[in-house]
């Protein structure tokens, strides 16, 4: 083998000095330096460089700066964790529903039917970072399915309130969250509950923009006359479905839905006993904005007893046949 000339052997010298040379490179180097003193010296130079590099490896950075960088990183990560939103889209009898949660709780439940989805903009406006994550949402998906099938009575989900727009809306949603399963109340009643009896329209708007539909049961709030009024911007049929799941009798009248109030048990605000709609002590029915229950069982599981005057336990309402 003809030895390489000096210009071409240098890469091999560097490789051999760094213990990276393969057998062929080793042979080329040995053959060359045997008769070339300059390149033998250069090999030594490269070995010297390699040993000097140890100092570069061991050179420490300022531990103060590193500590600060680490602290900033931890703060940055904590902030990012707070802003990460995991979501999944659940197929359901209500259509596709997006459910999103943060480390704090469920932040958004949105029907994807109809209008353009508002969730990307809503999340972005809050500086949130959405990540699709079906696995992480699987337990919520199960809860959701059980709820819609009537197998469970509540979505026991912690709520992250950060998409709530105002203190007023939060008050409205908190009052709404307290309405028992299988019961309905009027917008007026919610307005009264939050101490603003005149703000009926504002209550309706606050509920229309409920970011956590179903989990905060805004579908349990209806018009004073029993009409469903509205839901999530024109999705009254979904409201009807949700109420039916809970055993609230809803009838269809002239293209609209209406809760059959005369087929429901009545609970006067502040009372602990529920009544038949015909009960004399439920006279306040027309003025008191009562809570209405679809069945005795729902009223009793919410903690109420039958009235001792009208005895709904002895004269139960005949369940109306639903269309």
């Amino acid at each position: 083998m003809k030895p390489l000339d000096c210009a071409r052997i240098e890469t091999d010298l560097a490789a051999v000095a760094a213990d990276e040379g393969n057998a062929a490179a080793q042979r080329r180097v040995s053959a060359h330096i045997e008769h070339c003193e300059a390149c033998r010296a250069m090999l030594d130079d490269y070995r010297n460089v390699e040993s000097e590099l140890a100092a570069l490896r061991e050179r420490r950075v300022d531990p103060g700066h590193l500590g600060q960088a680490r602290e900033r990183l931890e703060a940055g990560l904590a902030d990012l964790r707070r802003r990460i939103v995991r979501y999944a889209i659940f197929a359901s009898p209500l259509g596709n529903v997006l459910v999103a949660r943060t480390e704090m709780g469920v932040v958004l439940v949105e029907y994807l039917r109809g209008h353009a989805a508002r969730w990307p903009a809503m999340l972005e406006a809050e500086g949130l970072e959405p990540i699709e994550d079906e696995a992480e949402l699987s337990s919520l998906h199960r809860d959701f399915g059980n709820y819609l099938a009537g197998r469970s009575r509540q979505l026991d989900w912690p709520v992250d309130w950060r998409l709530v727009r105002s203190d007023f809306q939060r008050e409205v949603l908190k009052a709404t969250a307290a309405i028992p399963y299988g019961a309905v109340v009027s917008y007026k009643r919610v307005a009264r509950e939050i101490g603003q009896p005149k703000a009926v329209r504002a209550v309706a708007q606050a509920l229309r923009h409920n970011p956590v539909a179903i989990a905060i049961p805004c579908h349990r709030v209806i018009g004073s006359e029993g009409t469903l009024v509205g839901y999530a911007g024109g999705k009254t049929d979904l409201k009807e479905k949700l109420l039916s799941v809970e055993g609230v009798p809803v009838e269809r009248a002239r293209g609209d839905y209406r809760v059959a109030r005369d087929s429901m048990y009545v609970l006067v605000p502040g009372d602990t006993e529920y009544c038949l709609p015909s009960c004399p002590s439920a006279e306040t029915l027309r003025s008191g904005w009562p809570t209405l229950f679809g069945s005795r069982e729902r009223a009793e599981s919410a903690g109420y007893r039958p009235c001792t005057t009208c005895r709904p336990d002895l004269h139960p309402l005949v369940p109306r046949r639903m269309p």
């Binding site: 590099l53 960088a69 680490r70 900033r72 990183l73 940055g76 990560l77 337990s139």
Partner: protein, 180 residues
């Protein structure tokens, strides 16, 4: 409610933040840049981790992210100029105080600081952080041969610089300090 375990990621931070930070200090010459870039590296990594997109070798993956961010950081001509200026006011290296008085380590650092970015990254990943050429190639988006050539060019410059300074010291060149 189920909460994703962050323990796995926290382990990556504990294990690798120091090394990534040191890499970025060496490559940018400025602790403030290293602070920003190491932060961004781990935030990006966390996003990927949270989306279940963590790939095999976490350490190499973090170096790849850091290297990309660093290259974007220096991308525009304007920024390159600023990077050059920044290098002139490195806040982490010792100021040279004349050829004969300089330590070998300082000469090496100075040569490294003046290497083109890609060479500097390849050289540091190989000689300081001990990555294989295949990994370096992936991190830099080039072929393993190109990674090897970049490391060689850098090493050659250091060899020459050390050789030159040794000759100057031996030969009392005009660059060496003379007595008063």
């Amino acid at each position: 409610m189920v909460v994703v375990s962050d323990e796995g990621f926290q382990y990556l931070v504990v294990e690798h933040h120091g090394e990534i930070y040191r890499y970025l200090v060496r490559i940018t010459g400025r602790s403030t840049d290293a602070d920003d870039l190491s932060q961004e590296t781990f935030l990006r990594a966390f996003r990927a981790y949270a989306s279940g997109k963590l790939c095999g070798d976490a350490r190499a993956w973090l170096f790849a992210i850091a290297t990309n961010l660093m290259r974007n950081h220096f991308r525009s001509q304007k920024r390159r100029q600023r990077a050059h200026d920044a290098m002139m006011m490195r806040d982490v290296a010792t100021e040279p105080d004349g050829a004969s008085g300089r330590e070998v380590g300082e000469i090496i650092e100075e040569v490294v600081a003046e290497l083109p970015l890609k060479q500097r990254a390849a050289f540091l990943q190989r000689k300081v952080h001990g990555f294989e050429y295949d990994t370096i190639a992936k991190n830099l988006g080039c072929s393993p041969d190109s990674a090897r050539a970049n490391v060689f060019q850098a090493t050659k410059k250091i060899r020459r610089a050390l050789d030159g300074s040794a000759k100057r010291v031996d030969g009392k060149s005009s660059h060496a300090k003379e007595g008063p």
